[in-house]
């Protein structure tokens, strides 16, 4: 069963990794992905992450379950934050564990690809000058990139 959480608080990558690997000797690969709040023009005070409570967790879990059905994983964690997140802070964490690296790499990438287009989160920019920022637009590439998973094992 994957560990899925949606929370306002920051997460501790090392602690989350230990929670999957501690006391085990059969895991040979741990792939960790951390998505950060990025400020491209020096104008961003924070991103405001809005989510659909309940459905956000459900959708991440659906994708996580699919990843576990697809690859021989020995541990899987997905944590997504909501609320205001400052540039440089973490937004999302995925940790995938397996005996060999290929499964962990693929599962982490798969989970992120589908999470971005399926999990109900929306980012709004809060500007440093106090003016109202825009809602971040969805990227078309995020949809088209999903096609690769229908042909790859």
């Amino acid at each position: 069963m994957a560990r899925v959480r949606v929370q306002a608080a920051p997460f501790d990558v090392a602690a989350e990794t230990r929670a999957l690997t501690g006391g085990r000797t059969d895991i040979g690969a741990v792939v960790t992905f951390v998505g950060l709040c990025r400020d491209e023009g020096g104008t961003l005070a924070a991103l405001e992450l809005e989510h659909y409570p309940g459905m956000a967790e459900d959708e991440i879990r659906r994708v996580a379950d699919e990843a576990q059905a697809r690859w021989p994983l020995m541990g899987l964690t997905a944590i997504h934050r909501h609320g205001p997140i400052a540039p440089g802070e973490e937004i999302v964490l995925v940790i995938a564990c397996s005996a060999h690296r290929a499964a962990a790499f693929a599962a982490a990438e798969f989970l992120m690809d589908f999470l971005k287009t399926r999990a109900p989160f929306w980012k709004k920019e809060r500007r440093r000058d106090g003016r109202d920022g825009d809602w971040v637009d969805a990227r078309e590439e995020d949809e088209t990139v999903l096609a690769r998973w229908s042909s790859r094992p």
Binding site: Y52, M55, K116, F121, W122, W135, A138
Partner: protein
């Protein structure tokens, strides 16, 4: 049924959620969008690009041709930008 709105759909409509009672002729999610759009300028603005609006019934993604019969909660929101 309960309708919930997120992101700029919520901002344009001006509320986070409401109870709605569409007539029986409103059979699908797409019908519901058209029905809501006729309720006022704020709704018309929120749904002006109806094709871009995503919907969920009881917290599961659905297409606009999905029937709404039996659903307790319908959600409308823009394409998602998490991750």
């Amino acid at each position: 049924m309960k309708a919930v709105y997120f992101a700029w759909v919520r901002e344009r409509i001006g509320r986070t959620d409401e109870d709605i009672a569409p007539p029986a002729s409103v059979a699908t999610v797409g019908d519901l969008i058209a029905w809501l759009s006729a309720r006022g300028e704020n709704y018309a603005f929120a749904f002006e690009k109806a094709g871009a609006i995503r919907a969920a019934l009881d917290r599961k993604h659905v297409k606009h041709d999905a029937p709404i019969a039996g659903a307790r909660e319908v959600a409308f929101f823009p394409p998602m930008t998490g991750g």
